[in-house]
């Protein structure tokens, strides 16, 4: 009997070899009693499986109920609208990027961002012994008293001789700080400043800023180009960024 149950199990769980299976089926067809017993056994196994299914069904129902409880509206909303939400978020991102990009900075804003008065190198200080006016100008400029500094500048540019180009640059910057960009441009374009190896790049940079403030964007870009293309130049990075930003103003 015990062996029979074992062979019933092996047959039902497909653990028999092909030969064993054929032998068992032959035995079933010959022995009517064994066949009836096997049928009854199969019924029992099927009932046990049905019991298992019922238990599993209960487990799944409990899981679904728990999910419903924990899920709630938020989860359902997320399930159904996550794709739409993702698309909406993407469009919102693109739209905000577009608005951010389309907001053009004004020349005034750019000027305020990039303009720094020229710092006179320490080596030039105290050099203008024979020109007391320029000495006073230097003192006023270093004290950031631009009004006094501008008042000390000569009216006629042709009278300026033998002055350090650094001081001439500072004079231009003092005028820029006071809002006199045209006069400042004259100082920056003086041959003593523009042709000097130490100050020519600074001169270009400040001329570009003056032109930016005067609204001459194309001319400003022309002045920035040589600085932006020479990585060894003074104000190389600033010139690159400013050139990029004024491209949108053109």
């Amino acid at each position: 009997m015990k062996n029979d149950i074992q062979s019933f199990d092996d047959y039902l769980f497909q653990k028999m070899t092909r030969a064993e299976k054929i032998a068992f089926e032959e035995r079933l067809s010959r022995d009517a009693e064994l066949s009836a017993e096997f049928q009854a056994y199969k019924e029992l196994v099927e009932a046990i499986r049905e019991d298992g299914r019922r238990e599993l069904r209960q487990r799944i129902t409990a899981m679904l109920a728990a999910r419903k409880k924990t899920g709630g509206f938020g989860r359902q909303f997320w399930t159904y609208f996550k794709k739409a939400g993702a698309i909406a978020a993407f469009f919102a991102f693109c739209l905000s990027g577009y608005f951010w990009y389309s907001q053009k900075p004004s020349p005034q804003q750019l000027f305020e961002k990039y303009y720094v008065p020229y710092p006179i190198p320490g080596i030039t200080r105290g050099v203008q012994k024979n020109q007391p006016g320029w000495k006073l100008f230097q003192q006023a400029y270093l004290q950031r008293d631009y009004e006094k500094a501008v008042a000390l500048l000569p009216e006629d540019l042709s009278s300026i001789t033998g002055v350090q180009p650094h001081l001439l640059l500072a004079a231009g910057c003092a005028l820029m700080s006071r809002g006199d960009y045209l006069r400042a441009l004259e100082y920056f374009r003086m041959p003593a400043v523009a042709n000097n190896d130490f100050t020519s790049e600074q001169s270009l940079w400040y001329q570009a800023l003056c032109l930016l403030q005067l609204g001459e964007i194309a001319a400003c870009r022309d002045f920035l180009t040589p600085l932006a293309k020479n990585s060894n130049a003074d104000h190389y990075m600033e010139a690159r960024y400013l050139r990029k930003q004024i491209r949108r103003l053109l």
Binding site: K2, I5, F13, Q14, K15, A40, Y41, E43, L44, V45, E46, A47, I48, R49, E50, D51, G52, R53, R54, E55, L56, R57, R59, I60, T61, M63, L64, R67, T79
Partner: protein, 220 residues
């Protein structure tokens, strides 16, 4: 520009790998479902619910079903999958989603056919049809099976669990021993034999009782 190109390339590879990753996900779920540990089974059921319930529900809604119908169909499909996975030699050919959807479609089609037949019968006898639409999805068990299940409920909880683990979940004796907290597989085997013997005796006694008494008397 370089970053953008890298991003595009990466995305391309990820797209290529996506089916493989999903397939690996399916295998992981089936492994959990096959496992002898109950918490892993529950985890797999929960994952399947998260990943595939919406698809099945959408199919049922499109074919005139309600939320309750979709839950019933999903439940039946899960039970079939649970049993299939534990059968020896089961191999998942395609994707799990396709497999589940196929089962669900069949279940829903069967239910629709049964409902249509019942509707026809009821309409021909001029009865109210609304009652038919609210019938549960689960089919009636044969009377003999129902009797056997009643006998099964007479066994103690341990016996029922062992028989269920062996015949329904198809666990090995070692796994059953581990799950039930027995010392070794032999103990589980003996216990299972004893329980099965008890169930057979109960079934024999029941058959004798039914053959001795006429059916009407027995039911009274």
């Amino acid at each position: 520009m370089v970053t953008f190109c890298c991003f595009v390339e990466l995305r391309r590879y990820m797209l290529l790998l996506q089916p493989l990753m999903k397939k690996l996900d399916d295998y992981a779920i089936l492994d959990d479902l096959k496992s002898a540990e109950r918490w892993r089974n529950d985890l797999a059921l929960s994952k399947i619910y998260d990943l595939h319930y919406n698809e099945i529900a959408r199919h049922v809604f499109r074919n005139g079903g309600t939320t309750e119908d979709s839950e019933d169909v999903f439940q039946e499909a899960l039970i079939i999958l649970y049993e299939k996975v534990r059968q020896p030699g089961f191999v998942l050919d395609g994707r799990l989603s396709g497999f589940l959807l196929g089962i669900s479609k069949n279940i829903w089609l069967k239910k629709l056919r049964r409902l249509r037949q019942q509707n026809q019968i009821v309409q021909s006898s001029r009865a109210v049809t609304i009652q038919v639409a609210e019938e549960p999805l689960h089919y009636e068990l044969p009377e003999s099976r129902a009797q056997l299940m009643k006998l099964l409920s007479m066994l103690n909880e341990d016996c029922r669990t062992i028989l269920r683990l062996y015949y329904f979940e198809r666990l090995s004796m070692a796994e059953i021993a581990k799950r039930m907290g027995y010392n070794n597989a032999q103990v589980a085997k003996n216990k299972k034999s004893r329980c099965m013997q008890l169930l057979r005796q109960l079934a024999c006694a029941e058959t004798k009782k039914r053959s001795t008494f006429p059916k009407e008397d027995y039911e009274k």
